[in-house]
Symmetry: C2
Subunit: 455 residues, 2 copies
């Protein structure tokens, strides 16, 4: 083969991110006459809605995090690159990714940015070491170590006050993730760990859900929120509404109950989980700054045009948790619909049958939302229909089985659920030396004390 | 209840370690009139012989590391404490354990020390960051990140030399663990990852097994060693015998081929796995020093009396990888037999039917040994019978199913093997940001460079 025979370069679509937005964008370009490069900073596609089950010992990492390149193995027009995208240059149409000691510049014709969001501490980033979020596999394993490690630590201590502190679990934020993780911590303590200790009684653990708003699951409306709250309270979870977190440290947290005018109260707690808000990837701001008239909202999400692009760059789509479109929640279905929309425009325009000017605005179809509260109990909202209890839980089960990518994972997940929900076992209670009981938080706490004593 | 009604204190057996020795000791005291305290620095019982399958993406951590306290939940005379034992005081009969910010002193009447061994670098501890061992769950997850991360890194690079380096995998030590892990790296590259990359061809990965001795699997004899070697070579593994490792760094390793008089050769390799030797827990030395006339061998193992105790302390048993008894290999069966023997002496003497002076010496029954080379292929030695191939693999399969603790894990493990050995998939290919591709090694390498440029 000589240089002359090189084929003309195909239209290259670069996708940033391997979450629901990024993966579905790649898949929907399967039959398109394009080259696809998916760049992500993890090697897996994370099924984030089930991450709380990794944190509480029900599922293994592999069950909710299949390797992206194995999913796309047979899609010959797609390549997958591991890298943390640090720069997007809209003018020169390049993406720069870095990881450890390698760096790469990838040119694009079309760009789909699905870089997602991370936990937000609303300017209090020092909370993070003490109250990890629930966004990555690392987060979930860290939390698993802290949650199970706290019971171990309580069993060992001889101080009654310290035992109580170690058996107190606080989840901050009563959105779906917060409700699901707090419910599972309660079931882990009440069912799985019952009888497994000799000094402590795990069923006596204090499990608290803290929420600044006046209701649980605020976006799902007062009726379902109350249903979920009642169920959690029946399980022994203390639900503290209208409660703001003002400080978090190694030993516990300080909250203000009853809104702004309330008084500061201290909760001594070994385990704190943060699920109170999200902050979009910094790539959002970087992209907006390169486009005249494109803004980011308070959470750092890009306020996109009706066709999900940034002003002046009809080839640059922003989708998923990184885009800000009124009425579209930061959930899987919003990301998937954005991916389908963006890839459809690219495909149509490559065929020559349409131009960016002809694009119809993106329309979000709300298929409903749901949250599991405990085994056999969930709340669901589909259109104007709201329901809770066992029926909603069955709906949750069916939906998650349908969406769990890869049939292999599905079989093991069902088996794991069978063990946990019908029985009381959990298959993944292992914690490693590196994850165990807030080692990182302890170290940070010592650093801070050292700095204070120096300063 | 008043103070008067407190029952007389029962004989307390403290067990250090939750491996095969520690767990089986606890279980064999189930019906004894004793209180058992098992102290371990992990919360799980690790099925170490299958750790290489976690490292190579076949099994999840939970499948080979069930929680110790769940296994012992129904054994009411046993308690499990998480803690790193730092001190054993034979005179005052106490054990001191520490972990993070807690410390605990536990008194004992009888003590069973099954604290095991860790990887040995024969005095070159700086190798460890670059060539992790295969002893803990953390090790396996770290290696999984490095192995899979190396393929990702190779796909990203544009330098041909660097691509080759990233696709070179070296396992040091051709004992059972070394043979098993090198075989699985080869199958991962040749089968599971085939077709999943666009720039590199994973089947072209260079996989090398380095061994200082003149044979593979030295303790299994020349016939089986040669069988295993032939099979590995057929799979494309380069087997370098009579080869000593003289240096390991971030970029690769230096070896001396052909024994002491050989010349230094450089192998550029991103992934190095160390399975060349073991060093017993430092508790061995600590215990020997408290007993007149008890020694430790070169690997730090305690040279025990014929009844597995230390001289002058018939109530202190040392078992498993921490004991040195001629003819007993550092394998699960040796640890289990030691546990059965030690607990039998304790039970007999508590009944009053025997005294320490009456003990018959410990006798090791060699039930044979085996190592898997690849799917459908193993080598096995049972008594004087030696065999290899598919039959040996079936024997391996049956034995490991039998010994995998907990029927739940067994079902999922079989399912995972079905996927990997009959198909070519692997359920646990997820690597986390913290594990990926030798981050720790890179940092250490930078530290060393910085020190060199300062020095």
């Amino acid at each position: 083969m000589t240089v002359d025979t090189i084929a003309p370069r195909r239209h290259r679509v670069v996708i940033i991110g391997s979450g629901f937005g990024g993966l579905f964008a790649a898949k929907h370009l399967k039959r398109a006459d394009v080259d696809v490069t998916l760049i992500a900073k993890t090697t897996h596609h994370l099924f984030q809605p089930l991450l709380y089950q990794v944190a509480t010992g029900i599922l293994s990492v592999g069950e909710i995090a299949p390797a992206t390149r194995i999913i796309l193995r047979k899609q010959r027009n797609a390549e997958v690159l591991l890298g943390d995208v640090v720069g997007v240059d809209l003018k020169n149409k390049t993406v720069t990714s870095k990881l450890l000691d390698w760096e790469r510049v990838t040119p694009f014709d079309s760009l789909i940015v699905a870089a997602g969001a991370q936990q937000s501490y609303f300017g209090n980033d020092h909370f993070e070491a003490f109250a990890p979020g629930m966004k990555t596999v690392d987060d979930a394993l860290e939390l698993r170590g802290r949650i199970l490690g706290a019971f171990e630590a309580a069993e060992v201590t001889t101080s009654e006050a310290e035992r109580k502190r170690r058996l107190t679990f606080v989840v901050v934020g009563a959105g779906p993730t917060g409700v699901e993780v707090v419910g599972q911590i309660a079931e882990l303590a009440d069912r799985t760990l019952k009888g497994a200790f000799r000094t402590i009684d795990p069923t006596q653990a204090r499990v608290i859900l803290v929420e600044a708003a006046p209701a649980v699951l605020p976006p799902m409306g007062p009726k379902l929120g109350l249903k979920a709250q009642r169920r959690l309270e029946k399980m022994g979870v203390e639900v503290k509404l209208n409660t703001m977190v003002t400080d978090v440290d190694y030993l516990g947290l300080t909250v203000k109950e009853g809104g702004q005018d309330g008084e500061d109260t201290r909760i001594e707690a070994a385990v704190k989980v943060w699920s109170a808000g999200v902050q979009a990837s910094p790539l959002g701001k970087q992209i907006a700054e390169q486009s005249d008239g494109t803004e980011v909202d308070r959470a750092g999400r890009v306020v996109v045009e009706p066709d999900l692009t940034v002003k002046g760059h009809p080839n640059v789509f922003v989708i998923g948790d990184l885009m800000s479109v009124p009425g579209v929640p930061g959930m899987a279905q919003g990301a998937i619909q954005g991916a389908v929309y963006a890839t459809k425009q690219i495909k149509n325009e490559l065929k020559g049958s349409a131009a960016p000017a002809d694009r119809k605005p993106f329309k979000y179809l709300n298929k409903g939302s749901m949250a599991t509260v405990s085994r056999f109990n969930a709340v669901a909202q589909i259109g104007k229909v709201e329901f809770g209890g066992f029926l909603a839980w069955l709906a949750w089960l069916g939906l998650h089985l349908y969406y769990l990518v890869g049939s292999r994972n599905r079989i093991v997940a069902v088996y794991s659920w069978f063990i946990t929900f019908l029985g009381r076992g959990r298959s993944q209670l292992a914690i490693t030396e590196r994850w165990v009981f807030a080692r990182r938080a302890l170290e940070q706490s010592r650093d801070q004390s050292a700095q204070k004593s120096i300063g």
